[in-house]
């Protein structure tokens, strides 16, 4: 079980701090487009062969591979974005995304940055009280491309096993 474990890092405190700032900037922009429900922009945060999954912590801890959302490659993410926007029938809602506790846990020889951070999604249906929709952990791998960072992999591991009704948008 890797979630919330102390992990050895090959970085100096200064390097880790600088990278943490980069990751936080990335996540702030990522959360902004999700808050705005600008779903078309979402796949662009990933590399062409990027991987994205949302799964419950019970699956992650047991090494089970299923995802609530399971996208291998940006084309699959584009198909999901198109479905959310065009074909999936759902009530209007507001969503707000909070990201914190970023921990950069290491950098590979090829420059891949490993990081983990907590996320929280708050949901408001039009005539209902605001509720915490999901609490979870991002387990990420970033690469630098064309001067910016892109996600090579984002695993969203949620604690909130009992999902209220359904989950329309990615986190």
């Amino acid at each position: 079980m890797a979630t919330n474990q102390q992990r050895d890092t090959n970085l100096s405190p200064d390097e880790a701090r600088a990278l943490r700032f980069d990751v936080e900037e990335f996540n702030t922009e990522y959360a902004r487009i999700l808050d705005a429900q600008d779903i078309d922009a979402w796949p662009d945060f990933f590399t062409t062969d990027g991987f994205y999954r949302i799964t419950g912590r019970e699956n992650y801890d047991a090494g089970l591979t299923i995802g609530l959302v399971w996208c291998d490659g940006r084309p699959m993410m584009q198909d999901r974005a198109a479905a959310v926007k065009t074909t999936m029938v759902h009530a209007p809602r507001y969503l707000r995304h909070y990201n914190s506790n970023v921990r950069v846990t290491g950098v590979d020889g090829d420059g891949t940055i490993h990081s983990e951070s907590n996320y929280l999604v708050v949901e408001t249906l039009m005539e209902e009280e605001t509720r915490i929709f999901q609490a979870g952990l991002y387990i990420d791998q970033f690469v630098r491309e064309d001067g910016g960072m892109l996600l090579k992999s984002r695993d969203c591991i949620y604690d909130s096993l009992l999902i209220p009704n359904d989950m329309v948008y990615p986190v």
């Binding site: 089970l64 299923i66 399971w70 999901r80 074909t87 999936m88 029938v89 009992l162 009704n165 329309v168």
Partner: protein
């Protein structure tokens, strides 16, 4: 969740005062979805009555000592495998004070111990030990005539077919084979017979609707052609395509079946009937996603089987899973999903199933639509005044049918339901 308390929808009338409108099966009164008394009677007569309820897949409890928490209706039970390999189902409730003692979702154990006073049960649910039964230093303790064997948690009747475990509170329930009937047994076996399952993972969601709405949803192929834009757009299920609703004699169980047809022509007439449920020209960036690998001895590319009262067997292209309904009062249900493939799947097939799992589940391209629709329905019932729904499509039939534009099997279900419920 706050509710609007100021509208009296009649659902709190005593059951004896509630009348089915004109005894007419084409009309369904809203109160069957909202009344507490109706729900209590459903627990007694359906979930605890002459029914087989799904509790587990054997693949979830593979070894001696494996167990999982599960439910029959809304009653928590433990499903466990003893040292001899036999599967047991018993109430997750300590015979002492009623503690729901097993808290882990699943795992392995040698026995179960209630944390409150350390009463200990073996893997078959038998009470084995009560601390200080004889008191301490001659004082206190249980009465002399206290016998361990009189204090076991309630044990359920168990039956297993091709790795699927069902339980019943009834001692007189018919065999599972008779319960399902030949046609639905055949559909069940397509998925489970002969191949060992591999568990891919679990989901859980709470739907804001009455549990019967899920049954209706899967007995209503009409909605599939209209609500699910994705199905029509990618020609997974379209009016005019080869399809069937296969009901059993009693009307309880059914399988919605359809064969994907990439060449089906969507006529202007069909397209105009579908209104906004069809997006001409939309294409997938990853077209392999909807590939169907023929792996079953069946003409259908999708079968959605619903086994009364709490199991759905999903076979949509190559994504397989079961859904276990746990009713939570009249206004909500929890859905426990177990997604699986087969033990002999290649890595490519494994990946294909994980990809196609995007279709279903709480985030599924099709799953979301149904969850949302069920909430919209319940919202309608909760705030109605003497409301009722109509199910009149294909009036000459009741039960099995070949067309998607039908509500014949919804009526068959409610004939059965009304008999059992005596309403």
């Amino acid at each position: 969740m706050p509710d609007t308390p100021f509208i009296d929808d009649g659902s709190n009338l005593p059951l004896s005062e509630l009348r089915w409108p004109d005894d007419d099966l084409t009309r369904i009164p809203d109160w069957i979805y909202t009344s507490d008394e109706v729900f209590q009677r459903e627990r007694e007569r359906i979930f605890f009555g002459e029914s087989w309820c799904f509790v587990a897949l054997e693949a979830e409890i593979p070894d001696p000592g494996s167990f999982k928490r599960s439910y029959v209706g809304d009653v928590p039970v433990i499903v466990s495998r003893d040292q001899d390999g036999e599967v047991h189902v018993f109430e997750n409730r300590c015979a002492h004070r009623g503690v729901e003692f097993c808290r882990d979702l699943r795992g392995k154990a040698e026995n179960f111990t209630c944390p409150y006073h350390q009463w200990m049960y073996d893997l078959s649910g038998k009470l084995m030990a009560v601390p200080f039964r004889r008191g301490d230093r001659g004082e206190g303790g249980m009465p002399k005539d206290f016998k361990l064997e009189d204090h076991n948690p309630k044990k359920l009747n168990v039956t297993i077919r091709h790795g699927v475990v069902f339980a019943s509170f009834s001692e007189t329930v018919e065999s599972l084979e008779d319960y399902l009937g030949p046609d639905n047994l055949e559909q069940f076996d397509v998925v489970f017979k002969g191949r060992k399952l591999k568990i891919l993972g679990f989901y859980k969601n709470r739907l804001q609707g009455n549990w019967k709405l899920y049954h209706e949803n899967l007995k209503d192929p009409y909605h599939a052609t209209l609500l699910h834009v994705y199905l029509a757009t990618f020609r997974l299920m379209v009016a005019g395509q080869k399809s069937a609703m296969i009901c059993d004699e009693s009307g309880r169980h059914s399988t919605m079946a359809s064969a994907k047809d990439d060449d089906i022509e969507i006529t202007e007439e069909t397209a105009s009937q579908m209104k906004s449920a069809f997006r001409e020209g939309m294409e997938l960036s990853d077209p392999e996603f909807l590939n169907y690998v023929q792996e079953f001895d069946s003409p259908w590319t999708v079968t959605m089987q619903i086994i009364w009262p709490n199991l759905i067997v999903q076979r949509e292209l190559n994504t397989l899973g079961i859904r276990h309904i746990v009713p939570r009062g009249p206004n909500a249900l929890d859905m426990y999903w177990t997604m699986f493939g087969y033990d002999d799947d290649t890595p490519e097939m494994d990946k294909h199933r994980l990809k196609q799992a995007n279709l279903m589940g709480p985030s599924g391209y099709l799953g979301v639509d149904d969850n949302e629709a069920i909430k919209f329905l319940q919202d309608g019932f909760k705030h109605s005044q003497d409301g009722e729904g109509i199910v009149k499509l294909e009036p000459e039939k009741e039960g099995s049918t070949q067309t998607l534009i039908s509500e014949a099997s919804v009526r068959a279900l409610y004939r059965h339901y009304r008999e059992v419920m005596d309403i």
